[in-house]
Every structure is written in C-alpha cells, then in structure tokens.
Amino acid sequence: MSVTDRGAGPLARADAAVHPAPPETPGRVLVPYGQGRIRGLDAGELGAHGAAMDRLVALGLPVVPGLTVPAGASASLCEPGTARAAVELVEQVSGRRVGDAGRPLLLRLSAGAPTEIAGLPPDLACLGVTPDNAEALCAVIGREEALYEAWAASVRMIAEYALDVPGAPLDDALLDTPAPRARVEALLALVARHGSQPFPDDPAQQLALAARALLARWDTPRARRSRRAQRLPADLALALYVQALRIGPADHSGYGTAVSRHPETGRFSPQGSFFRGVRRSAPPPHTGEPLDRLAGGTALLEHSLLTLERHLHAPVSVDFEVRDDEIALLAASAQQRPPLRASVCLAADLAREGALGREEAVLRITPAQVQELLHPQFRLTGTEELLVRGLPASPGAAAGVIALSSERALELGADGTQVVLVAHETTPADVPGMLASAAVLTGSGGIASHAAVVARGAGRPAVCGADGLRVDRAVGTVRIGGRVLREGDAVSLDGRSGAVYAGALPVSVAGPPPDLSTLLEWADETRRLAVRVNADTAAEVDTAVALGAEGVGLCRTEHQFLGERLPLIRRVILAADPAARDEALVALERAQHEDFRALLTAVGNRPVTVRLLDAPLHEFLPAPGQALDAAEEQRAAALREANPMLGLRGVRLALLHERLYPAQAEALFAAWVDVAATGVRPALEVMVPLISLPEELAAAAAYVREAADAVAARTGVRVPYRLGTMVETPRAALLAGELAEHAEFFSFGTNDLTQLTYGFSRDDVERQVLASYQERGFLTASPFARLDPHGVGALIALAVERARSVRPGIKLGVCGEHGGDPESIAFCDGLGLDYVSCSAHRVPVARMAAAHSVLGRRHEESGSAR
C-alpha cells in the first residue's frame, strides 16, 4: 500500500490519459510534485511515487523538489527539448541552478510504476556533473569519494544502455580500477572509444540520455523476467521522476530512511539510519548513522511519521533527504510487511485515539499472528548460566549435547540424540553435521555467514559469531565464554536472542506483550465462547490463567497414577486379596488428595472439569516377566488386551474395579473442602470418560454421589458439584438425549470422537494415510488438527440438539486439541457451545479466534441483510 491507495486503482492503464504535448511546448508534459491531482492524474499516470508525493504535499509535509513525467509521456524525456524544460523546471522549484558553485544543484532521475514493484531500473544520480565542475562540487561536500562513486554508477548505466558501449569492457574497467575517481575516467575513456557519441557535459543532454538508459534497461530480458515473476503486464509503462539533488557539506547533508515503530516493542519510536554525502540507491554497508545523530533533530521526522500513520492507519516508512540540517521527504509509504509487534501496537494506539473502533482493532490481528507472537522460547528462571551471547542467526530455541565435528554429530544424531554442532568456523565439510544437529553454534561469522544461511536453509536454530569460542578437537573440548565444556555436555541456544546457556533448558511459550494483552482484552469483550485450558497440574493452571484461561476444561487424572505411583495402582489392579487392594487404594487416595488440593488452589473461583481416570489398562500392567511373582505374572497376562485403546478403559475399568472412582471422587471432594476453608470456591465439574451407554453413566454417577455423601458425613460439608460426561464415542453422541438425563454438562472429546467416527487409529493414519489423502485432495487438512465439520461436526451438532431438547440449560464444551484451532473454534461458536478448552499456549489464540468468529458472523449477517 502506498500513500496513493485511497484514490487510484492499481495498475490503471497508463497511456490513455496523457497525450504527449506538441513539440513546440515541450514542458507541458512535466508535472511538478503536488500538482498531479489538479491536472486530473492519478497513480496510473504519475506512478506510485508521483502520487505519493502529491499526497505528502497535500498533507503539508516537506518534500524534495521535483517533477513527474507521466507514464504515457515518459519517452518524451529522451528528447532534448523536454529534458531541457525539465532541468529548468527543477531549477525553478528548487531555487538553485545546475552549475552554480555556491549553492550547487544536481539532478537525480528515477522510474516508478503505478504500484510498489521490484525490478525497477536503478536510480541515476549525479546528472549535471562534468569533469570541469566535479572538483568544485567535491569541495562543497568535503568528501571526494561519495560524488565519484555515484557518478561512476550513472556513467556505467548510460554508457551501456544509451550509448551502446559493450558491457564486458565496462565490467573489466570497474574490476581494474577500484578507486572511484579513476573509475569515472576509465569509463569516460571507454565511452569516447566505443560509444555512439561522446558523454555530454550539458545537463539536459545528460538527462535525455539517462532517460533513454532507464527505459532501455526496462526493456531488457532481465526486466521482462522480473515483470513476469510479479505477474505484471509485459508492457507496463513507467513514469519518470526528475528530482533536485541539492549538494551541501557532508556534515549537514545526506539522506536516510526511517520507519515509524520500533520492531521489537512496536511502540511509536522512529527507527532508521542516515548516510552523509550524495544519495545512492545502495548505500555502502556499515556507514549508516543512527537518527539521533541528525544535527537538526528528529522533530520534523517524527511529525511526518505520525501524520502519515494517522492518514494511512499503518506503520509507515519514509526516505528523506537532509540538506543544511533540514529534512525533506523523498518517499513515503505504508510498510509492506510491518513487524507484527508494530501492527499490534498501532492497532491499539489507533483504537485508544478513537481513530478505529476496538472491534476493528481486534480484527486487524489474526489468531495465527497471535500464535506467531507467542513463539516458543526458553523458560528462564534467572538461575541459568549464560555462557556467551552471539548473533541471533536463525530463529528457534533448542538444547542438545555438544558435537565438535560433523562426524561426531552424525554419530550422536543417528541414535536420536539432540546435538548442537559447535565450530569456530564452518566449511562445506560441516554441512552434514549441521543437518544432523538440532542447532548450530559458531565462533565467527555473522547473520549472513555461510553457516547462518545453511542453518536457516535446514530450519535449524543458530547462533553465530560467539566471541571467544575456542575449539580443541584433539582433546574434545570447547571454551565458550569462560567455561570449558566437553563434547557430550549439554548446551541450550536461542537463535532469536543469540544467548547460549549451559545445560538443557526447558522450552515454553512466551506471554503476550502488553499491547497484545490489550487487544486480547478487547477480544474478550467481543467473544461469546468461553476459553478454558486443558491442564493437569497447578503449574499448568497458573500458566494458563496468566494467558487468559477462564477455567480448566479438562484435568486428566491419569498422571496421578503413573510415575512413582504406578506400583500403587498396579497393586489395586493385580491385588491378590481385598486387604492388599484396600491398602493400596488408601495410599492412592492420599496422594491424589494432595494433587487435587494444589490444583484447586490454583484454579481459584473458576470452573474446573476433573475427568475421572481414563487410561488404557496396559499402561498399568508390568511388562511381561517384570511381575513380582508367578501368580501376579499370571494375573497380568490374563489382563493383557489385543487393542487396549478400545478395551478396558475409562468408565469400563471403573465398573470392574468398583473402588477406583469413589476413591478418586472422595479425594477430590475432600480437597475441595480443604480449599474452601481458605475462602476459595472452585466450581467443580466431575466428568466420566468413554461413555457409550446411559447405564454406564448412571452407575458412575452413583459412585460420585456416594463419594459426596461420604465426604459430607465425614466433614459436615456438602460439596457443590456438577456431574457430566465426555462425549467421545459416536454412540454417546447419538444417545445424547438419554445421557443428558444424567449429565449436567457434556464435553466433546474430539480427538477420540474423530478416531472413532473415521475408524482411524491416529498414530497409524498420521504415519501412513493422511499425507497421501491430502495429496489426493480427499482431505484438505488432518481431521485431528481441524475439526471435520461434515462427519464429526454433524455428530456434535446432533448431540447438541438432542441434549438441549432434554435439558435446555446443559453446559457444552469441547476439550480436544481442536479447541485451539481457529477454524474449529469458529465451528464450535456457530453451534452455540459454551466453551472450548485447549492447551495453555493456545489459550490466547483461542480468545482471538472466538472474537473473530463473532465479528466474522456479524459481518456476514450485515452483508446478507444488504
């Protein structure tokens, strides 16, 4: 988008509107900056730049003097008469004259298309320099090289494209004569020898040749290929621009670029650099200076950027000229791809100023962008040992063990070990090692080093240029920062910050930055659907609440039985006699009580859905040969199943081991009583898994009721709770009406429901089937990532309808992974579900997606009403 987008259609035909003026009035086709609209010309004729300059003038911002030769008439600038008129007009608007020694003026010719495109011919600066006046100009600037370098570039272009000098000798001359001044002389000598005419001294003749060179360059195979690649018309006409290049002392003159917002924070804070001397399209590297060194200050620049932002409603960028410490704009546009943080902050700023509605601001940031802003990073506690900070060369965070050679990296990587390849410098021989590694660390090179290019090409996080890295391959050690590490030691590196830490750090999701939090709060005001988290521990709940979760939609209690508690549950299931079983149950109940108390404390006064045990039996059985004795071995063998995922699982296990659910429920209710004593009252929801018969639910509900009674008898407190069920089998969905007689809420377990509706075993089809189905076009996305609206979705819709017909106020939610997918969330919102529940790191995404769903539907409705 450029400053012109609000007026002109893109790529308007350029030739029709402007008629080249008759030869006797050569200046008629020239349009000074700011006068295009008055003459009825738009971006089609003026080009994006000409129209942008018009707009800048209209906004009252300072612009560099110059003129446009509209697209339909640009060839006329190759004629001496028009070129002379152009020189005179620029002299007039700038108040200077070419050749004036005191206030010197040169000209700069550039080309533009109706929109911002790539592949335009390079700008030709320094028109008007001659061997005779060059000395005097250098004296004004105070630096010699700047002028000669820019001049050499112009001569090179004009020689090849307007004076028919072959390219090869010109290339050779540039290779052989590195000094800028000698270069100009060598190039002019070549023009004298091979050129169709001598290089003129007259500025108008130079300008006419320069125009011819730019247009010829626009007609080369290279330029045509570029137009094709951008799907631009082959005969796209260019507008030409003649700008004043006002020469002044390097201490007070130059040129630069600036964007309105800081890329990291997104705040309004002009960022950019400026260069002293004569403007060039590709400034020499490492010569830019920060904006705060502008002797005349940045107030005018800030004013310009702010004015443009308010006008364009986008983060903006400008090119500017500094002459005698004053700023004049050379170009301005909305940033093509502003940094995400900048877009977020701007949306919040505009809404706070009243320039946008809050809902419009929310709509500007997509759920996918929310995800992007919450990229994974190391979970830092402040106790990590920072070894060194290098250059962030390839994004991502990874941990692994050090390998000091490709060979070692390949060996370690072969058995699945995460490896970080560490090398002082990289050669082609290190590429195989980089491919086998999880991340790359080098001691030399920068973000554009070969190592960085390869790492990004292979999608590996990398930190380059870590100072003081010393590799000693002979003894297998590396010194990083002050520490000596051995091959095989763990390190962690963050390719976004350049930080390298000792040891393997855990990776987690970043919290939203402040302005995103604001937008998410506004999204919360808009959305209807509640967002909860799937969390099993107090720590996960804390993380999710900080990310905006309104409660826990799924607490899986399986982990309470695994790990160090596995022997207890094993004793319950394989117990030889009831006494041993009861003893084990008591121990389990005690352990769960502690878990639940921590969880409920973290939940606070929010709702929390606790799912009673749902794990396939085989996870609790000892591996063959690992049982305590032959009798237990026999009992375990009798319990092994052919297909555990469809076997003795969920409520089925609980109905066979009748003390399991009561023990869990009693632990839960007793924990609630403890927590309630501290003044916190979580809204408890007890959920029964893997139901397919209403009778199963009725039986499980009775267990829970008895547990509540037992706790009430013991403590005198009647714990308020709701009882509900997972809907994760097709039969449960079909019998939703009957289930609703026993259940106060449903939670759709869309992972299992998808598996059972398709008859897919997830792990197997993901490995063998889904990719091929997607390739064939049978599926557009994995049904495990995006809820299938036609099959699984239809079952949910039917269940919702049947359940509500029996119990109108029944609470309905989704707790599969789909709860974090924007399209699936919109589907759930459309069905009128009450909440979605997803993993903690997707909570902000779900909040935004739920708001977009409402706004999108509102937009559709207003559209169809019209």
Binding site: A118, A168, P178, Q336, P392, E407, A429, P432, G445, V454
Partner: protein, 210 residues
C-alpha cells in the same frame, strides 16, 4: 579397513585425485553409488556415516595439497586478484540468501509476498552480473573453474523455474551450495585460512566505504 599411504599426490591415481578434490570441496556426498566412494574409503580418504560420505582429515590435507598453486607465481597473483574481487560479492550473495530466508525484521520469509521475493531476485541478479566478469578472469588462471559459472546458471535456471530451494538450500546444488564450493576452492588454491578470509573481506568492504 585397508590403509594405503598417500603421502604425496604421486601415490594417487588420477581418478582418485579428482574424486578426493570433489569430496573435499563438497564436504559430503549423498546418494552416490558405492563403486564411487569405495576406493576413497579403502584409501583412508573417506568415511561413511549413514547415508553420507565424508572426507577424512587426511583427505582434507591431500585435497589442499593437490589444489594449492605455487606460491609467488604469476598464476597465484592472477587468482588472488580474482579472489579479492570475489570477496565483496561474496558478502552480497550471503546477504541475498539471508534476505531470501528472513525478512528484514528477522521473521522467516514465507514467500507469500511476490514483490519482496522479486526484489530479492533482483539483488541476486545483481550478484550474478557482478560475479560473471570475476569468473571469466578466474577461468583464465584456474583450469576447470568454468564449471562454477555453468553450475550457478543451472541453479539460477531451476530457481526461476519455481524451485525455490535452488537459491539457498544445503540439500541440493543450489546457488549457495555451488558458491560455497567455489569459495572453498579459492581458499585451498591460495592456501588462505578462514580467519584470513574473513579479515580480508572486512578490510575490502571497509575500503569501499564512501
């Protein structure tokens, strides 16, 4: 494993010479038939790691010795001149690859912005235009170096045919892969270390500051 002494290049027959140089310059072979790499492995010049064949330290030394031109010779001077012209373009090529992979704000380039990609392609064209006279000169001084221009052009063609990996992917003979090989050959031919190379590149760029 059978080990053969390879103290001098005399000990290697010509096919092995060519192969060891190729392996050293490429850094690895993938998907080559065993008949090609077996002789190198037997000679202690290559090792097999899973699907890859890597040069041994001995191979690297041998390759360097084979490639090194006579110090102080006219040939060395000519190649040095080409190498000095190569270095500033080398920096630009790496910047082009960086721009192709990452947008200026550091986020990965997802190639959804035609104009941005076209701009990078233009910068690549500038690099390609700039390297051609350098390679023409190099070819006069270093036999066989003409292959690089051919390989670069082939990568460029494939890139323009829509194979976006042909600019910077390390997994094919992309523009960058071929370029790295050219760079490595220049270093070995002239006996320049990576550290010297980096310092010289900085120096030449500093000299370019106006």
């Amino acid at each position: 494993m059978r080990s053969v002494a390879v103290d001098g290049t005399d000990a290697l027959d010509e096919s092995l010479t060519e192969a060891v140089v190729d392996l050293v310059l490429r850094g690895m072979w993938r998907g080559r038939p065993e008949s090609e790499y077996r002789p190198l492995v037997d000679a202690g010049l290559a090792m097999v790691k899973g699907p890859m064949v890597l040069p041994t330290e001995r191979a690297k030394e041998t390759g360097a010795r084979i490639l090194r031109v006579g110090a102080g010779t006219g040939q060395e001077q000519q190649i040095t001149a080409a190498y000095r012209a190569f270095l500033p373009v080398n920096r630009r090529l790496r910047e082009v690859c960086t721009a192709w992979q990452c947008r200026p704000d550091g986020t990965p380039n997802d190639h959804s912005d035609l104009a941005y990609d076209a701009q990078v392609r233009e910068a690549l064209e500038d690099v390609h235009e700039a390297i051609q006279p350098v390679l023409r000169r190099l070819e006069r001084a270093l036999a066989g170096s003409g292959q690089y221009l051919t390989a670069l052009e082939e990568a460029l063609d494939r890139f323009d045919d829509g194979g976006t990996e042909w600019l910077a992917s390390p997994l094919c003979d992309s523009y960058h892969t071929v370029w790295m090989r050219l760079h490595q050959e220049l270093l070995l031919v002239l006996g320049v270390s990576r550290a010297q190379d980096e310092a010289l590149e900085e120096e030449l760029l500093a000299g370019d500051r106006g």
